[in-house]
């Protein structure tokens, strides 16, 4: 087992290098990050911009920029004016030493941008995901043990329906009904965006609609998954044996079926968890929620490469780590699998 874990960790390292290089090459082709200065009030002179470009290393070949991004440039000299007159030592430490770079837009470390936004995303995503999982297991199991009854068909139909629904549709509809029309009908309307005035109560009121939409969309896929893996287990011989030895229906379902059906669910959850950090780009946009998805779009629109790279790398590292964790947890839960 230990050898297996070590091997997986060693395999993850080249994978992360490949990912980071793909991302670095793509984000650095997005356009001139210094273009944001051209429209700012204190427009720097052409020479100042040129010096800035050299300090940021934007004049160097892509591969060299990537190496600097990885290991920093504090060990080498930067030729600021391009003629060998002014040589400054570099200031960056590189990602491998925990320096994600300085945001081109706010001129502060990219990591502080993430630190500001990540809690917002998590306050939205964690409750939404927890509710989704609880409901999915409940509805999925119920649907499976009543297979092909009216309720099961209803649930299956509804989950197909929500599964095919783009999230902006349900979001705009809930805003239209509970935000816009409720005000017209003099009913207590829900706020349609933002995070409120800072109090917990107001925050919760603002969370109702986004969480409702996120749950409605995610739930469908999870219900279908739980139902089908439950059906698979219910068809097994050991379930018939459990019935035959006189166990009650509830006990068979909870003890024998659900435990086994939960195994594939563990995999699915493990692989989906890291994406919670990404937030929900579209949902956050609609509800004006200042989370990671919004941060990504903002930095994307201004070609703020360090912040984009920080977000994407955080995500990809989490994806890779969670893949390994999921495999380990899976073997731990399922004694049939051994390495």
């Amino acid at each position: 087992m230990t050898t297996y874990i070590i091997r997986r960790l060693l395999q993850a390292i080249p994978l992360l290098f490949i990912i980071s290089f793909i991302l670095f090459a793509l984000t650095n082709s997005l356009g001139d990050p210094l273009a944001v200065f051209a429209e700012s009030r204190q427009r720097p002179t052409a020479q100042a911009r040129e010096e800035m470009r050299r300090r940021l290393g934007l004049d160097r070949p892509l591969l060299e920029q990537y190496v600097v991004w990885l290991i920093g440039n504090d060990w080498m000299l930067v030729d600021v004016q391009g003629n060998g007159m002014v040589m400054e030592p570099g200031t960056r430490q590189g990602v491998l030493r925990g320096d994600l770079g300085i945001s081109f837009v706010t001129r502060r470390p990219a990591w502080t941008r993430i630190e500001e936004r990540l809690p917002n995303t998590l306050t939205l995503m964690i409750p939404a995901y927890t509710i989704t999982l609880i409901l999915a297991v409940g509805i999925g199991v119920y649907s499976a043990i009543r297979q092909y009854t009216f309720v099961d068909n209803l649930i299956t139909g509804a989950s197909f329906f929500f599964y095919s629904m783009p999230i902006f549709f349900i979001a705009l509809m809930t805003i239209y009904i509970f935000g816009v029309q409720f005000t017209k009908w003099d009913l207590p309307a829900l706020p349609i965006g933002g995070t409120g005035d800072g109090s917990i109560g107001d925050l919760i009121v603002h969370m109702v609609m986004p969480i409702f939409c996120l749950v409605a969309i995610q739930l469908a896929a999870y219900v279908r998954f739980v139902r089908s893996s439950m059906l698979e287990v219910l068809g097994q011989d050991y379930i018939r044996t459990a019935h035959a030895k006189g166990l009650s229906e509830g006990r068979v379902v909870s003890r024998h079926a659900l435990k086994n059906a939960a195994l594939p669910l563990v995999t699915l959850v493990g692989l989906d968890l890291p994406f919670l950090l990404a937030g929900a780009v579209v949902t956050e946009r609609i509800f004006a929620w200042p989370g990671m998805g919004r941060l990504f779009i903002e930095s994307f629109e201004r070609a703020d490469v360090p912040v984009m790279m920080a977000i994407l790398m955080l995500l990809c590292v989490m994806v890779v780590v969670f893949q390994i964790l999921t495999d380990i947890v899976y073997t731990w839960f399922d004694p049939r699998i051994r390495f």
Binding site: I18, S29, F160, S164, P166, F168, I175, Y176, F296
Partner: protein, 319 residues
């Protein structure tokens, strides 16, 4: 021999009965027979047919110029007899825009999947059949691409390749299109091939050690012939299923990109970029309701059909 027969051991008794009853028919016709009895799949086909008829007949009745003709004086009118879907913020007829936008959305969905299937199948075949270093390199690359959220990847790729000076608008059959329409096809296709290539690779790995491959080789068939004639047909069923479901996700992805304002550009309407325009006009329900509804009907139909296809091609799932 095909994927269907190799699963003999796993079949349950009822499936065996059905298969014996159907003996003498080809796998494809058996599968199509199962599909015809699948109620959800039929509903799916019906929905897709309805959407196709809508965009097709709509374009025969409404001239294309109607979808781009703007008249600010009649902006944001609710549905009426003259404008059944209302008008948008600069007074364009939303019915015409939903009809012509639908054509583009469907076109993008289908062609993006063709790109995706071509690249995915090619990489899967090469990777599985060749094995060795090439296989590990290609699969590591696929794994790396899979770890990056597709929406983020597509956004970045779209920005890089949508410079209007490099990709100007073009005219085709009397209609003007934005080149971003072609770009988005490739962006969606090239960011979603990874799962297909994994599926194809696993089929190839299970097939290539079988006796009939050895016998084909022993009578002198080359690699090309073996791959195309003996290996590729086994991938037909899984490719069909993921292609069908892929059209749905491609249309959804186009809609999300359009909604974020980064999809196909004007003058070409799509369901996605109508939604993007409508984002700030939540009070005008007709502005966003109709395009979103058509996106949903299409993906719903495709998901029904895809699920039916999966059941039809995989007798193990018959329960």
């Amino acid at each position: 021999m095909s994927a269907v027969d190799t699963t003999t051991q796993n079949r349950n008794s009822s499936a065996i009965a059905t298969l014996q009853y159907e003996k003498g028919r080809s796998n494809l016709s058996r599968s199509l027979g199962r599909l015809r009895r699948h109620r959800m799949a039929l509903i799916g086909v019906g929905l897709i047919f309805f959407v196709f008829l809508f965009v097709l007949i709509g374009s025969l009745l409404i001239p294309e110029s109607q979808s781009t003709f703007n008249m600010p004086a009649r902006a944001l009118q609710p549905p009426s007899a003259e404008y059944p879907f209302g008008t948008d913020v600069i007074g364009r007829d939303l019915l015409a825009r939903v009809v012509y936008g639908g054509q583009i959305s469907l076109f993008v969905g289908v062609t993006a999947v063709i790109v995706q299937m071509f690249v995915g199948t090619l990489i899967g075949l090469v990777s599985g059949y060749m094995g060795g270093v090439l296989d590990s390199v290609l699969m590591r690359f696929a794994e790396a691409m899979l770890s990056i959220p597709q929406l983020f990847l597509a956004l970045i790729a779209l920005r890089i390749f949508s410079d209007p000076t490099e990709f100007p608008d073009f005219t085709f059959m009397g209609r003007q299109y934005s080149a971003t329409m072609i770009v988005i096809v490739f962006v969606i296709g090239l960011t979603s091939w990874m799962r297909v290539s994994r599926i194809v690779r696993s089929v190839v790995l299970s097939v290539k050690e079988q006796e009939y491959i050895t016998s084909a080789r022993s009578i002198g068939a080359g690699n090309m012939r073996i791959v195309l004639r003996h290996v590729l047909p086994n991938c037909f069923a899984p490719i069909m299923v993921s292609a069908t479901l892929g059209v749905g996700s491609a249309i959804l992805l186009e809609a999300y990109l359009g909604f974020l304002g980064l999809g196909v550009r004007n003058p070409t309407p799509t369901w996605g970029n109508i939604m993007g325009d409508a984002n700030s006009y939540i009070n005008q329900w007709y502005y966003w309701f109709f395009p979103a509804m058509f996106i949903m009907l299409t993906t719903l139909g495709i998901n029904f059909l895809g699920d039916g296809l999966r059941d039809a091609f995989d007798p193990r799932s018959l329960r």
